[in-house]
Symmetry: C2
Subunit: 205 residues, 2 copies
């Protein structure tokens, strides 16, 4: 948050209620598709009351995105350069898949934003995100050079992990539509598939 922290307990609680409602609506309909009426209804508050806590629709959206970036990148930070390469990366894949399952709204919020050109978070991408990815890419390259990992382009590897895991949140309707009627446990089968797939592709010859 860049703004001052809320003071009273009720303020804090209402801000949270609003952000949760907004996450639901923005992630489903995109920024433009979402309306304050929908968010107000989901939050159980009146529309003007929303704007008592946040100065505008934009401000709500920005607050959501800012609060999210850090959480979203945490798993990448946890890749341990001192660990066993293949296991570290497979663990990262499974961690990201778990997040797609547990926080699909957050994933879709990002997807909406980035597909539409990231008008509100381009600076976050070009700054902290790029820095972290470059750092981790260097560590992966180190592993490859040591022969402990199959030769891969580290940036594209990271992209592939993001793509394959977030797919299950972002394209959920499609996945369910195709896997129906056996799609109830598709995160389990995806977990098995991805773990085996990345293990095969990354284990050095």
């Amino acid at each position: 948050m860049t703004t001052t922290a809320p003071q009273t307990r009720i303020q804090k609680r209402n801000r949270e209620v609003i952000l949760n409602a907004a996450l639901e609506v923005f992630s489903t309909h995109g920024f433009r598709g979402a309306t304050l009426d929908q968010i107000a209804a989901a939050a159980g508050l009146s529309k003007p009351n929303l704007l008592y806590y946040f100065s505008s629709k934009d401000a709500i959206h920005i607050a959501l995105l800012e609060g999210l970036m850090e959480t979203w990148l945490a798993p990448l930070k946890e890749i341990d350069p001192k660990g066993e390469p293949v296991e570290e990366l497979v663990a990262y894949v499974l961690h990201k898949l778990q997040m797609a399952r547990d926080f699909p709204r957050e994933s879709r919020l990002f997807a909406n934003e980035i597909v539409q050109g990231a008008p509100r978070i381009a600076p976050q991408i070009d700054g902290p995100l790029k820095a972290l990815v470059d750092e981790k890419a260097a560590e992966i390259t180190q592993w490859v050079d040591e022969g402990r990992l199959a030769p891969v382009d580290p940036h594209h590897l990271i992209f592939s992990i993001w793509a394959t895991t977030q797919h299950y949140a972002d394209f959920d309707v499609q996945v369910r539509g195709i896997l129906r009627p056996n799609g109830t446990e598709h995160f389990d089968t995806a977990s098995d598939f991805l773990a085996a797939f990345y293990r095969r592709a990354l284990t050095p010859a």
Copy 2:
């Protein structure tokens, strides 16, 4: 198209101009985010003239999606069950990546639609798309059973191919932001990465 084909040459041409402009705008801003003003400006026509050719904003969007689904699925149909399994699938990956490079707007149009719950194309997903995927999944399973392909869940394999290739169109800003300043040829490096990656993961032991 479900509607009657346009008669005169000028009608046909204007419909195409409008659809092209609409693809640009819808793919960038989503359905709700796009305005008829923007589409009209991009098409070089007046707003009422747009509505002379298409009965509503919705009608334009639907026409786009309908015309697209077939093109988008064509590469999947071309996987030859009589071919060499690993090579057929690697070729499919590269074909899909090429489409992401050559038709990013089409990819983003789909992404926008599906991320937001596919309100307008759910029937297409549950019908023809599922049918085709199930058919191809059976062929892949056959290959696995014959020991000509590493053991993989065919549905999740297809999802992973869609995810990793379309990622370069849908998340283009993110990819460019991270690969900057060396991102001009990133489709080439992605091509190398994905070909090697899928080959390693799919070749039987």
